[in-house]
């Protein structure tokens, strides 16, 4: 697998240096691997910290900025960050109003954020966590580590970030974050695997005519393998799975997300199928995103995330945002 890197050992730090050079609106602490807003914490505002393995760009560093995150801490590729990083980030964004930790439901992320929250509490910082677990391909937490956090993370960070910008207290910011998660569902499909730079070979092999259904965002295999089909058939399978879990009706926010190696032209083909499918159910897509927002290195494939909107959530979604990867209204 060919990759544009200098060395497998410096992938994350080299990319952070590039992020810092490209975006003067960000302050990047390369040694601790923490990205914050260049202006520092806003007085009286709840701080939003997110983090997770690298390899999902633009998540999370690309979502640091006005109206969204205050800090992000990337771990190694597909490996959750460590508590020390999260503590540095939490202290950097703390202005006394408390800090929200946006945690995707993976064992490593949960354990490390839990330890970081304890360390922050020892230093007198109030931390509330929100656990994102929108991926319906994982069926039942009785038999698994529970549903994974995937596309809804982008919605949670945007909407909770907007409410925090309006100086809402930590309890309300945490509540809206949890509400967005509860109202969101995702399903992912891979056409190819991806290669962790330090591993040097693809995580799994897929034949020319095979796809992997129900993938997460770490190049891990999904729930089942199936034959390659048309965009319409694959999209229907993904949305059937979501519809069976949360009936699709009313006003919806929909994201068709590329996994890193999918051409935009194909994502628009998928979006068209999503639109057709949802119209058939009598639902209305009132807001949408089409593009690469939460990726899996160079994997080919897509995920679709649906959030059942309320007027309040729509208003917060529409609020101004100014980050490297999401920007409008300002």
């Amino acid at each position: 697998m060919k990759k544009l890197i200098n060395s497998p050992d410096t992938v994350v730090t080299d990319a952070l240096a590039g992020l810092a050079a490209a975006h003067p609106s960000l302050a990047v602490d390369i040694e601790n691997k923490v990205i914050t807003r260049a202006g520092g914490p806003t007085a009286g505002k709840v701080g939003l910290v997110s983090g997770g393995g690298a390899g999902h760009e633009p998540l999370h560093g690309g979502f640091v900025g006005f109206g969204m995150l205050d800090a992000a801490c990337p771990g190694e590729v597909f490996t959750s960050p460590v508590p020390d990083q999260m503590l540095v980030a939490t202290k950097a964004v703390s202005s006394g109003a408390g800090v929200l930790h946006v945690v995707k439901n993976y064992t490593g992320d949960v354990l490390n954020f839990q330890m970081a929250a304890e360390l922050a509490a020892d230093e007198g910082i109030e931390v509330a966590p929100v656990l994102v677990n929108d991926d319906i391909a994982v069926q039942d937490s009785l038999y698994t580590a529970g549903r994974r956090g995937t596309g809804a993370t982008v919605f949670v960070e945007k909407i909770a970030g907007a409410l925090a910008e309006r100086a809402a207290p930590l309890s309300e910011v945490a509540a809206v974050a949890a509400e967005v998660n509860e109202r969101s569902r995702s399903f992912g499909v891979a056409l190819t695997s991806c290669t962790v730079p330090a591993a040097g070979k693809p995580t799994f092999e897929l034949g020319e005519q095979e796809i992997e259904l129900g993938i997460g965002i770490h190049g891990e295999p999904g729930r089942r393998r199936g034959p390659l089909a048309t965009a319409r058939e694959i999209t229907s399978a993904a949305l059937d799975a979501i519809h069976a879990d949360m009936p699709l009706s009313g006003d919806l926010l929909v994201m068709v997300n590329g996994m890193g190696g999918t051409p935009l032209i194909e994502l628009y083909i998928v979006y068209n199928e999503v639109h057709r499918y949802l119209s058939g159910k009598g639902a209305r897509i009132t807001r949408n995103l089409v593009g690469n927002y939460i990726t899996s290195l160079e994997m080919q494939g897509f995920s679709v995330t649906v959030c059942a909107l309320t007027d309040t959530l729509t208003d917060l979604w529409d609020a101004a945002v100014d980050t490297p990867a999401l920007r409008w209204g300002r």
Binding site: S80, V82, G108, A137, E220
Partner: protein
Amino acid sequence: MDAGFFRAWVTEIAAVVQTQRDHLTQLDAAIGDADHGINLSRGFGAVEAALAQAGTPTPGSVLILTGATLISKVGGASGPLYGTAFRQAGKALGDGPEVDLPALAGALEAALSGVQKLGAANEGEKTMVDALAPATSALSRAVAAGASPAEAFSALAAAADAGAQATISMQALKGRASYLGPRSVGHEDPGAASTALILHALRDVALRQAR
């Protein structure tokens, strides 16, 4: 067993996870996200660097520094879980300059209990607990039966191996492999495999020093 013994154990672990780095990563690629060997190799490399810099006069202090460094440097699930295991073992060993076999058996029980509390995993769920739990009981049983150190450490390593092998037929109920459901059956759990390597390293160091 003094602080030097435990430093030798950690050095042995660092060497073994480096040698087995790709094997562990391949096990993880089959049912996880292909980073276990990479992360442990990076983590124990950092532990060696930390031990070279700090004074660790007692067995307990060696294991506590090992655990704290793993928590600070590794990330993922293995960082907090192995970090907690070593920290709890170190705390259980106390402040003495030497520890005996019963104390070490008690420390491994403390490690197991710390891992189970943090990760909420029980035996049979295809995790590191499936190697650590039988190995810990095997050591405690050997100690209670008055076995020699050589016999006791061999029982520990053999039970860890058998435990890791037994994960092949299990369906994962915890950790990232659980997302695969029934597809996780037929693969050795990478965490159980690395636990077996770590306990093998303990046996090897003990047998070498007994000579």
